[in-house]
Symmetry: none
Subunit: 210 residues, 4 copies
Amino acid sequence: MTLTEQRVRAAAVKLFADKGFHGTGIRELAQAAKISSASLYHYMGTKEELLEGIMCECLDRLLAAARQVPASDPRDRLAGLVALHVLTHAIEPAQTRVVDHEVHVLSPEARSEVVRRRDEYERLWAETIEEGIAAGVFHDTRPTLTRLALLEMCNGVSRWYSPHGPLSLEELATHFARLAIRMLGGEENDFSATVGHARSVVSTVWKRTL
Amino acid sequence: MTLTEQRVRAAAVKLFADKGFHGTGIRELAQAAKISSASLYHYMGTKEELLEGIMCECLDRLLAAARQVPASDPRDRLAGLVALHVLTHAIEPAQTRVVDHEVHVLSPEARSEVVRRRDEYERLWAETIEEGIAAGVFHDTRPTLTRLALLEMCNGVSRWYSPHGPLSLEELATHFARLAIRMLGGEENDFSATVGHARSVVSTVWKRTL
Amino acid sequence: MTLTEQRVRAAAVKLFADKGFHGTGIRELAQAAKISSASLYHYMGTKEELLEGIMCECLDRLLAAARQVPASDPRDRLAGLVALHVLTHAIEPAQTRVVDHEVHVLSPEARSEVVRRRDEYERLWAETIEEGIAAGVFHDTRPTLTRLALLEMCNGVSRWYSPHGPLSLEELATHFARLAIRMLGGEENDFSATVGHARSVVSTVWKRTL
Amino acid sequence: MTLTEQRVRAAAVKLFADKGFHGTGIRELAQAAKISSASLYHYMGTKEELLEGIMCECLDRLLAAARQVPASDPRDRLAGLVALHVLTHAIEPAQTRVVDHEVHVLSPEARSEVVRRRDEYERLWAETIEEGIAAGVFHDTRPTLTRLALLEMCNGVSRWYSPHGPLSLEELATHFARLAIRMLGGEENDFSATVGHARSVVSTVWKRTL
DNA sequence: CATGAATGAGTCTTCATTCAT
DNA sequence: GATGAATGAAGACTCATTCAT
């Protein structure tokens, strides 16, 4: 991916997140990427393909990160998944908001690509929860429901977290991990190691120092 | 509000929820409301004012409902707020999705109208949580953070709940109330009365039999 | 069909004939029809549908006219068909040129509509020729080939005939009828009555005094 | 003319014939010629100049061929011209269709270049017809009209002849020669020698074995 | 009360062409 | 000799909105 391509994508992510896909004009996008609207089309297919690319890449990274969570105690594993998800949403609010808000725009074919990734990702959460229940460390009568609640709770982070606020990434992730364990009726651990590991994974996957 | 006005608003709610504000055309809207696009303008101001009206009304109803939650034990009160919120999102997914997703479209003035209502609504949650902590029935070190997590978790319901699924409204509300109490480190009660009350309030406010 | 619709269609016919379908811009068309390019879309579907409409209507008229040629002596009948075709191409060169030149533009579905009409029309010619041969008044070893030659020869009229030139419509039609009979090895008649009839049919079908 | 130039020209001929000049994009052309659209401009001037080149070359060849028709009996000479024209249109339908259909695209200057050649070519036909009438072997009261009819009839071949059909080039040319003579009220000859000669001329001029 | 007609500004996308590398 | 990058202008078409009837 060339530098210009990256600039285009970055501009698109920001605009799509702020004003929505349909609320973002191609000229606006071109201006933000500092090229002409005609040149835009050297670096992308259609506007929709650009969106699809953004969403898939983001989900692929999220998935790649989630796969690096060690398969240890279900509590630690869930804490790891939560920390990772929350950290990602905190440091990449634009990308994650696009993933969460603009699925309805996609054509059926593109949508299925995105949904497939999302499902695969959620399966990791489901498995962890099930394991925890089977192992007796989680106590919950409606694990599916709880999983949905959990995910939405974590997605929300990209809508309100600000790096300029008083809350550090560490604190954020730790608290959400704690909340998740509580929701599943598990005993609270010390998650500092888990959160630390999640932090380094996220840092690697997104090539950013946290 | 005339019958036609209601038809317009209902059509707008459905379309805005499904395709987004910018993804919905005025002609499409007219067609769904079964009038001509010119006639539309007898029943609304601009497209944006229509959106503002939808959002404000929805928030007003939510607020009106929340104010009917009795100021009893903080646990019951929180359970009531959660049940109410979740039930509303379950039976009115279109309206609530519009409220949650289309704020960025509004002009600053219109947005402040919406935000004001939202803030007022959230204050009720914040107060309840604080009371619970003060009373020692909740145990949480970051109540603000938890409140945000809680709200996002509940908002999510409108994105995935289906009345055709196996989950009844009662079960949904009860489980979410339980999750909320867990998140705040409170002891689980029997929330059936609280949920029942919430149900009747929602039923009244939205004039629908549940 | 409203007056404006007619103006649009007339402008389109002229422009498509002069500059080709792809050579004619929508703004150019709007200007020629004296409305804005946006208003254009109140009176037409897509540009292609406009073209299809023009072609089908023209062919329908040609067909309607051809069906009024009396089924008398094959020589007279052929002379009638030729006169009619030639007169039409002489007085409506724009429409007929569009029909003859822009078929390749159409989508398969639209094309089949046009081709169906064209085929039906040519069948009338084919039948007449066959009858003439069967009756022994025409002598030709390759009637299909001759029919194609005949049609192309007559189509050509719209490319060069000028009403301002020295040649009257009567003379034009009479000579072409004579040429056609010669091509089929038939004996030359006096075609004045036949041509006169064709003239009045064309006049009626196109609502123009010749 | 380099090999690449030939490839470009061949691609252009095919595309212009199939989709029209304005219906053919420069990128499409480049792709068909298997070079980049930028490289295209090493082998051509503007798109219009490319068209002009194609048309002029085609007409030049037609003219060169026509000049090789021996000045014998006017009937044989006309038969020769017709055979040549028809054969050319049969074996080079793309080129001849471009010549016949895309004149309107050209700028006045370019157009005059084309028209000059066309006129010169048609003069050969006119002379032949006049000679025949003067010599008493043709009997026609409107030679100009007949010439136009003749030419259009022959041009038409490129629109419908298929080498995969049952009709051989020989049969095609022979029948058209016969038709032409009939149209001019001449006596039918045996044109096999004339057609044979036309065939070899066309074969030479276009460097193709027929 | 209702709507067909109208439009300027906008939509996304492609156009033919140039030029630095 | 070849081409990726670049673009102003234009392509067809839709937008939200107004207004006379």
